[in-house]
Every structure is written in structure tokens, then in C-alpha cells.
Amino acid sequence: MIRVGFLYTRLRVEEKYLLEELEGRPEVKVTRIPDGELCFDIAQKPAEVDVLFERSISYSRGLYISRIFEAHSIPVINSSLVAERCGDKYVTSQLMVQNGIPTPRVVMAFDEESALAAIETVGYPCVLKPVVGSWGRLLAKVDNRYTAESFIEHKASLGINHQIFYVQEYINKPGRDIRAFVIGDEPICAIYRSSESWITNTARGGVATNCPINDEIADLCRRAARAVGGGLLALDLFETENGFTINEINHTMEFRNSITTTGVNIPQKMVDYVIEKENLFIEKMS
């Protein structure tokens, strides 16, 4: 019997699919752990589980609670290290650069004056992004110096986290990007996300269609997944004139629009991976 702790903020469609899959397996006992309702004495084992399946929508809660479980030798999928590497866009970009993986150029700055210099270094248009955030929120396409000055001023009023200026090269996409799903470090399926807007997230109205995985996509996905530590990942790729490039990597991915579109049972494969990893952990410890 494998005791799986299921950490969540909200039961989205994805969590319901995953719970249905987990609870349908005779060898699994699931303990639901709502991330906002509990408190944790860090000297005590947080729960009687063998593995924690981290599905928090809240990056901060997921990260800290994962660390608490790991401190008590309970493996977490995805691990806190993978979460740190994917949850902060700077860290992801830095790892891509360090590993020679194609990724849009990024220049960082930490005050308003240097932010303007960073934007002018990258050139117009470019994109300002919060280092932590998702669903296409608070992204700003900067077309010229006037909009740059306005965005910087607005960001300055949003608090300390927005004083970390992540300036990314704008990629002129062909009206779509690619979301590839990776389990372990193996790509299992991918979708195109098409939109008339430059923001293609399905959370913002992007339309999903199946994207066959060719050798180039598969190779890039494997390399990028390895660079962040592997696990249950969703990689966002751009198509450029010079080939594919990795934009972002998500560690608590949404997949509701991709099961029918790709014909791949994503939650089943995710649960298979969690069980396989836990079995390997048990073998290693015995």
C-alpha cells in the first residue's frame, strides 16, 4: 500500500481527474491535504504519508509545504527544487542559458533606471514579466520608450516583488505557441495554443489543437526537463526562424484542454509516475 498525500489549494478539474485516478487504484491510499487550512510544526512529521503529490495553485504554499515534507524524508513530486527552478522565471531562464538550451534573451534589472536600460538593451518590442506568476497575468509588451516608462512606473507601485525587472526578448510567434507535456524527462504529447493575442495561454482564451511531437521538439523537451530536474512538467515552446525555443516551464501544470485534444490520458500517466517514483524510493531506502 502506498500512502499518497495530495496537496492542493483548490480542486480544479485537473485535481479531480488526478484524485479519481489515484483513488481508483487499489494499492493507493490518498490523504487530502488542503494547503491553506493546516498549520505545520516543523519539528514533527507533517502527515503519515509515503509521498506528497504537490498540486497547489499557490506557488509559495506549495514550495514551503514541500520543503517541510522533504525535511522529514518524505519525497515530493515535483520536488521543491524543481518547483524553485520552474516557479521563478529568472531561475528557469538562467538554467536554460547555462545548459545551452535555446531560450529568449533575458536582461534583469533591479531599479527603475536600470530597468529602462535593460529594456533598451533588449530592444523594442520586449516583454516585462513578473518573475513569479502564471496564466499570462501582468505581462506587458513594451513597444517603445514611452510605454516602457509607463510600465516601469506602474510596476514600481505594485510592491517589492515587482522591483525585480525581468525583461524578455519578444518572439514574433506565428499566432500560436506549443505546450509540451513531459513525464520524467520524456515528452508524452503536445498542443498548439492559438490566439489572435500575443498571449496564448488557454487560461486567457488560447485555443488548443494537437501538435505532433517531432524529433526536434522531443530532444529540446528532454534537455529542458533535465535542466530543471525532471518530473511532471509542461514546457512552453516558441517557434522561431531559427528553430524552437523554450519560453517557460510549469511544475503544477493544467491539462484539462489537452486530454481530448491529444488523445493521451495525462492524469493516468502522471499517477503512474508518482507511484513509480515512490516504488523506486522505497527500493533505494531498503
Binding site: 483548490r10 479531480k16 488542503p34 495553485i57 499557490s58 513569479v132 506568476g133 496564466w135 510549469n250 493544467e254
Partner: protein, 56 residues
Amino acid sequence: MSTLTCPECAAEIMLESGTEVGEIIVCSDCGVDLEVTALDPAAIQLAPMEQEDWGE
């Protein structure tokens, strides 16, 4: 199946069988997100606002 009232627009909300506590449902009339807070008896409330660090 339980029938509730949307706290935002007073529309009638039907909870389907298989609904779980913590699940987010959307009011088909006004589109607001609602969190299921209890099942016996059933209760819903406006879902917490999205936080800055929420996402994938």
C-alpha cells in the same frame, strides 16, 4: 443533487452528484467562481480572489 442560490446574482445553482468540498464551480448566469464549502447540507460561497502567486 442540491439546489443553492448564487450569492452574487441569486441564480439557482444545482450541485451535481460527485461534487466535492473545495471544488470550484461557475455560476452559469453571472460567471462568478463559487467554492463548494460543504455538502451536507450543501453550501457555496464566493471563491477566494486569485492571488499573485497562483498559477501552474
